[in-house]
């Protein structure tokens, strides 16, 4: 999931009876499954929470270009290179739709960048891990995009129209991304023993961070309860994590890999796997900025922005010149 631990500002979820008539009408529309559109009235908390959630999602797509972009020049065949380029291009496109969706809530892309660069806005913890081998590119597609899909598929039905519609497009592309990741690994495990070892090593390193993508258990979280009442979150973190594990373990077995969790066991009674607890101290350390790549990822984004200032200024200056030339020729013609 690309948005983690999104705060809602509220102390608790209020009942319909406690709301004023305008807010009550708003909540009843959401309860009836209607979409909220940009120009319509919405509680300030709803707007702010969505801005946090959508911008965090957008930043994750943009920062997420970096670990995968890291292997484009080293992709092992021309076809793999083309596929990876197309995939990373899709991620940039997702960022674009999402920034546009957030802009409908009254925040500009430049403001969101500013929040990312200052560290005020977060992006998914997963992109602070390094891609150390080509197998990591497969693992990122399989596990990271796989985890993202778990969360994003239900979000296609979220209450905010522009976000829901952006997610419809995003989900189509993400499922292709996941398949390409799995396909990379399927080929590698059929290759030499050294290649297969790379795949196992990638799973060992990406398994736990992927489970952490869903965030810590939020069954008791007031933020999650409020987001669910607003239908901008559909499932609890634990539900999604369980679903992810249940889907992914058989795939790992199919690849002939060992999931690095000694507590992993099929539980016939619940019809799902029991599994170990991720190391949440690591998760909080990464969120706090101490992951292996936090500094590099943020520096890369800041550098891109700062180095590009002259480029953006140049385009603006040219547009202004062109406008005044058009005006001058119009006046001359009159």
């Amino acid at each position: 999931m690309y948005a983690q631990m999104v705060k809602t500002d509220g102390a608790r979820v209020r009942s319909l009876d406690e709301m004023d008539p305008v807010e009550r009408a708003f909540q009843e529309r959401i309860d009836a499954g209607q979409k909220i559109e940009p120009k319509e009235w919405m509680p300030e908390g709803y707007r702010k929470t969505l801005v946090r959630q959508i911008s965090q999602h957008a930043h994750s797509e943009i920062v997420g270009q970096l670990p995968e972009g890291n292997w484009i020049t080293r992709a092992p065949t021309l076809e793999r290179k083309a596929i990876l380029l197309a995939k990373v291009q899709d991620e940039a496109g997702h960022g674009l739709y999402l920034y546009c969706a957030a802009e409908t809530l009254g925040v500009s892309r430049d403001e969101m960048y500013e929040q990312l660069h200052s560290g005020k806005a977060k992006y998914s913890s997963i992109f602070n891990y390094p891609t150390l081998s080509w197998a990591d590119i497969g693992a990122v597609g399989w596990l990271v995009d796989g985890a993202a899909i778990m969360n994003q598929v239900p979000l296609q039905r979220c209450s905010y129209g522009p976000y829901a519609r952006a997610l419809v497009r995003i989900c189509k592309e993400e499922s292709f991304h996941q398949r390409q990741g799995f396909d990379i690994l399927m080929n590698m495990v059929k290759g030499t023993p050294a290649q297969k070892a790379l795949v196992q090593d990638a799973l060992n390193r990406w398994w736990w961070p992927s489970l952490m993508m869903f965030g810590p258990s939020d069954d008791a979280s007031v933020h999650s309860a409020q987001s669910m009442a607003w239908k901008i979150k559909q499932n609890s973190n634990d539900e999604l994590r369980q679903k992810f594990v249940d889907q992914t373990v058989p795939q790992a077995e199919y690849l002939g890999l060992t999931v690095p969790d000694p507590d992993l066991k099929w539980n016939e009674e619940k019809g799902g796997y029991d599994f170990g607890e991720p190391d949440w101290s690591e998760f909080f350390a990464v969120i706090a900025g101490n992951g292996p790549c936090n500094a590099e990822r943020l520096d890369a984004r800041k550098k891109a922005w700062n180095d590009g200032e002259w480029f953006r200024d140049g385009l603006v200056a040219h547009a202004e010149k062109a406008r005044s030339r058009r005006q001058a020729s119009r006046i001359a013609a009159e």
């Binding site: 992709a75 793999r80 083309a82 197309a86 940039a92 922005w305 480029f311």
Partner: protein, 260 residues
């Protein structure tokens, strides 16, 4: 070996050489452009650059695929891309120039696109149907590359004083690498005689016109044609190519016989 057969072997070698040049230009420029992924000055530029790189890698597959076929020794496009050393690469020096700032990347793209566009237009009438088919497909993509790079060169040349300065510096630095695009040699003469491709020199005049017109609109000064760097087309490269290949070929070299 009879005289006729010898001629056909020589012709085949010239065609192979020509196809390597086409494929290697696309591959090395695509590689350079892809280095920007995630680091461009605006999100729209990230998307446009990945798209350009993607087109060029697609064209590489076609040109090198045909090169392997023409050579007839069972080498695939991947074999040619990943298992040749620098001395066997045939790209012009221009495309291996480092990216520099975004202005230099754009200027390199424009100078190359203008040539690439004119060449592909001519190749649509190639006597070799396979060459004409690839050119037809590539031309659609490259027309867009040229539209984009030309437009940005104009806007940045005639933007702020700073953007103008950077674009002029990029142009001055890259200009000595443009001459090689128009220098012909024996393989060029051979494919031209067969009607496969135009003589490189024949593209110089339309290229000069296209470039001059663009630079004028961009308020940039066209450098004088002084000494021109050359060597890439016959395998004598700059020091940069070795580093490009060590990235590009790392996995194929480190895991020989792997499946990907």
């Amino acid at each position: 070996m009879g005289a006729a057969q010898q001629t056909s072997t020589a012709e085949n070698a010239a065609l192979f050489e020509f196809l390597l040049r086409m494929g290697d230009n696309a591959l090395i420029l695509g590689h350079r452009v892809s280095e920007w992924c995630g680091h461009a000055p605006a999100l729209e530029e990230d998307i446009a650059l990945s798209n350009t790189a993607l087109d060029l890698i697609g064209q590489t597959q076609l040109w090198l695929g045909l090169a392997g076929e023409v050579e007839g020794r069972g080498r695939s496009a991947d074999d040619l891309a990943y298992l040749r050393d620098g001395l066997d690469f045939r790209n012009v020096l221009l495309v291996e120039r480092p990216n520099g700032d975004f202005g230099k990347t754009l200027m390199r793209q424009f100078l190359f696109d203008a040539w690439h566009y004119l060449l592909l237009k001519a190749l649509k009438n190639s006597s070799d149907r396979r060459v004409a088919e690839i050119a037809e497909k590539a031309l659609k993509e490259v027309s867009y590359h040229l539209d984009r790079s030309r437009d940005l060169v104009i806007r940045l040349g005639d933007g702020t004083a700073e953007s103008h300065r950077r674009m002029q510096a990029a142009l001055d630095e890259l200009w000595p690498y443009t001459g090689e695009l128009f220098m012909g040699d024996a393989p060029d003469a051979s494919v031209a005689a067969d009607g496969v491709a135009p003589e490189p020199a024949s593209l110089k005049k339309p290229w000069d016109e296209l470039v001059a017109e663009t630079l004028e609109e961009a308020t940039l000064k066209t450098p004088a044609d002084g000494y021109m760097q050359k060597g890439g087309k016959r395998g004598v490269h700059t020091e940069h190519l070795g580093f490009i290949l060590s990235d590009l070929q790392f996995l194929q070299r480190a895991y020989p016989g792997g499946t990907w």
